[in-house]
């Protein structure tokens, strides 16, 4: 099977709607197919990655720790759009630090998140075979 470039575009905040969790589950399931996968977080999607989420009081599962497992699933291209962060008063420091371990370099930890501008991300998006939007 030829490897295709898949981009999952995340545009919704977590918890208020089911989109963010559904997207994450599709990514984890899809990771079994050995495709070239990347994730984009734009608009309210950047809120999915905030650190310090605590959901006990709203009675929903806190799925934010699962983003840290993406590296284990060889999903290590995570694009976060700079403009979307700025419009919301956020910086990279407000987000979880996501890493992956490079088996070929004795499990060296490398950053998964790539901070990109809207126009840079538009270029990456244009290179994809398939974009799935959530």
């Amino acid at each position: 099977m030829a490897v295709k470039k898949f981009m999952y575009v995340n545009r919704k905040a977590p918890y208020g709607t089911i989109y963010a969790l559904e997207s994450l589950e599709v990514v984890l399931i899809g990771a079994a197919f050995d495709q070239d996968v990347s994730l984009a977080f734009i608009g309210d999607g950047v809120y999915e990655l905030t650190k310090g989420q605590k959901t006990e009081a709203i009675g929903q599962k806190n799925f934010s720790p699962t983003y840290s497992a993406l590296g284990d699933y060889d999903v290590n291209k995570i694009y976060v759009e700079k403009e979307s962060l700025e419009e919301r008063g956020l910086t990279l420091d407000d987000l979880q630090h996501l890493v992956w371990e490079d088996e070929d370099e004795d499990w060296a930890e490398k950053d998964s998140i790539r901070l990109v501008s809207r126009s840079e991300l538009a270029d990456v998006m244009a290179e994809q075979d398939i974009c799935l939007s959530f």
Partner: protein, 100 residues
């Protein structure tokens, strides 16, 4: 008549928050819940709108703010309430307008 307005949508995704502010008169309270809590955070256009809406009291539902990891981003002048506080607000106002 005093009104309690609730907003449960992100201000960056829906017009609910802006529309609500247009209808919130002096003496009324705007309670931000669910994805509406993003309007209660600092450093964005919603924060400026809250600052300019004098005469209106703003509150945010703590559990929803916590869930989203934004407790340390709360803008000044916004009261944090828990579920009991939500009920009290409903009781203190004459009626409730939910901007869905």
């Amino acid at each position: 008549m005093t009104l309690l307005h609730t907003v449960n949508k992100s201000p960056f995704e829906s017009m609910s928050f802006d529309t609500c502010l247009g209808y919130a008169k002096d003496g009324s309270t705007v309670l931000l819940i669910e994805d509406g809590v993003y309007a209660a955070t600092t450093g964005n256009s919603a924060a400026d709108k809250i600052k300019n809406a004098s005469g209106v009291t703003f509150a945010v539902l703590g559990p929803d703010l916590q869930a989203r990891g934004l407790e340390n981003k709360l803008a000044d002048g916004i009261k944090v309430v828990d579920y009991e506080g939500f009920v009290n607000l409903v009781a203190e106002h004459d009626s409730v307008q939910s901007w869905l």
